[in-house]
């Protein structure tokens, strides 16, 4: 088996509270593995330790005990950050830089050549739909645009792993869907994604595997489909079915040992409806 994208072993983080005796245990004996190519959703209520876990994986916070690795390289080393892009929760980038200058800056930090930065920057601005805003300062960007430039920044050196802390927080439904589509796009290109989000519906749409944290403890973990499927039920959705067919089906069910639990018209999600009525997405 190939090296996992992220490996977390027996991770514990205890924060001291300044001027107090007590301590906060943000993460407790957490072990989990994110295989390369997966989209992994880390879920949990506020304060359950999601951001802390991500920061430890990125070497921004030192663990109290345990170890974490990115593609087999210890998070304590600066090199481990070569292959990962990070978008923190509610980030603000330098307001006085334009979109293009921002990507240029982060590209230089990754040691990319000038030509490489130019190519990558163009490609990414197009991908995240900010070509027209490339020469505008970030001070004038909307929240959704900031998150998208944040994604582009995270992807500048073509890392194989993306770590996203609430990428859709504070973004309107259309913007949030754009970000979701971008994540799916990265997934298609084989990039591993670790993300945490409160939008469970979106998590359900894009994640292969999820872990649920509560008070720093991983209480559930597994393949998304397995966790939420109802074992003994089957759903059939028909289109343009004539009433006679429906009658026949009901009759057949009545003769079998199965039981019809519910029959109704599927509804589109409120999100879908909202997006349909608010017209085509722009910018």
């Amino acid at each position: 088996m190939s090296t996992p994208a992220i490996s977390i072993q027996n991770l514990t983080k205890v924060y001291p509270i300044p001027f107090k005796r007590e301590k906060v245990t943000a993460v407790q004996d957490l072990s989990l593995t994110v295989e390369a190519g997966q989209v992994y959703g880390l879920l949990g209520p506020n304060g359950s330790g999601k951001s802390t876990t991500m920061k430890i994986v990125l070497g921004l916070v030192t663990p109290t005990s345990g170890r974490t690795e990115i593609f087999g390289r210890d998070s304590n080393t600066v090199e481990s950050r070569e292959d990962v892009g990070f978008l923190p929760e509610n980030p603000y980038f330098y307001k006085y830089l334009t979109g293009a200058e921002t990507l240029d800056f982060y590209g230089k930090l990754c040691g990319l050549s000038r030509a490489k930065i130019r190519d990558r920057s163009k490609e990414l601005l197009k991908l995240v739909g900010l070509e027209n805003a490339a020469d505008r300062r970030l001070g004038g960007y909307s929240k959704g645009m900031l998150q998208r430039i944040g994604l582009a920044q995270a992807m500048i050196q073509e890392p194989r792993l993306l770590v996203l802390d609430e990428p859709t927080a504070g973004v309107d439904p259309a913007g949030s869907r754009e970000i979701r589509d971008l994540i799916l796009d990265f997934k298609q290109r084989g990039i591993t994604v670790l993300l945490c989000s409160h939008l469970l519906e979106q998590v359900q749409e894009i994640c292969d595997r999820v872990g649920i944290l509560d008070h720093g403890v991983l209480i559930r973990e597994g393949v998304l489909g397995d966790l939420i499927s109802i074992e003994n039920q089957t759903e059939i959705i028909l289109e343009n079915a004539p009433p006679e067919l429906l009658a026949q089906i009901r009759e057949m069910i009545g003769k079998s040992s199965g039981r019809l639990v519910a029959e109704h018209r599927p509804q589109k999600t409120l999100e879908r409806y909202f997006l349909d009525v608010t017209g085509p997405k722009q910018s």
Binding site: R81, G85, F86, K108, G111, G150, Q157, E158, V163, I191
Partner: protein, 297 residues
Amino acid sequence: MTAAAPIATKHKIFSPARVTAIASNTLLELVRLKVFYFLLLFALLIIGSSFFTSKFTFQEQFQVLKDVSLGAMSIFTWLLGVLATAMLLPKDIEDRTLYTILAKPVPRFEYLLGKFLGVLLLLFVAISLMTGVFLVILYARQQDALANAARLVPAQALQEQLADIRAATFNKNLLPGIVIIYLKSALCAALTLLLSTFASSSIFTIIMSVIVYLIGHIQAIAREAYLASQTTTALTKAFLAIVALLIPDLNSLTLVDDIVVGNAISTVLFVKTASLGLTYIGIYFLVGYFVFSAKEL
């Protein structure tokens, strides 16, 4: 674009290119904050000071001009160094921009060095511009004085008078004096950077930095007074020694007074003063780095 091998070149332990990127970004930030408007104030101040000295002899006039200009340079660069440095780290931490930078393969040492070099660049640009304004005005005033002398002074005394005017305006002490002003502001910036690595806000950092600045100026006087008195205990002496070690005597870190009265500045004095400044800059920066590298972000 595929998710194959990473395209970054092999990681370097120390990369001047990364430091340069951070330093020039820091300078750009400060420039786009329009901090250079203070230069207008500087120009107004030294031009204004000329109007009040027209009754003085030309020696006195040039003395006042130099005193005001060099004094203003010291204060402006100090203020700029302290204020600009104090906001750098807290702002990056608060806005989580620091996370995005350190999540790239950037060692904390390079980040801090880049920020500090950015401030040093800013101070360099600022003091160069102020020096430019100062020299232009000094030159204009000198030409004015020379022209007046040519009209008013009798022929037999004229050559001597012209030489006196030249001697009272430009002399070779000006440059070393300005270099020391620069070093002093850099030292105060390094101190502020150190304070900001463990302070929680910009305001706290600025206040602490100002207090240390004042201690740096009065400690020598205080020490003399204490040591002269018979009752000073060993404990007090030890305390004064520690303060003296932590904070340099900032009064001795200037050559402005000598320059204004026209004293010659020996190379030895200059080198001694400059090394004192450089040593403290190095120490403050390194201590700041050790605090920052252990900091929980």
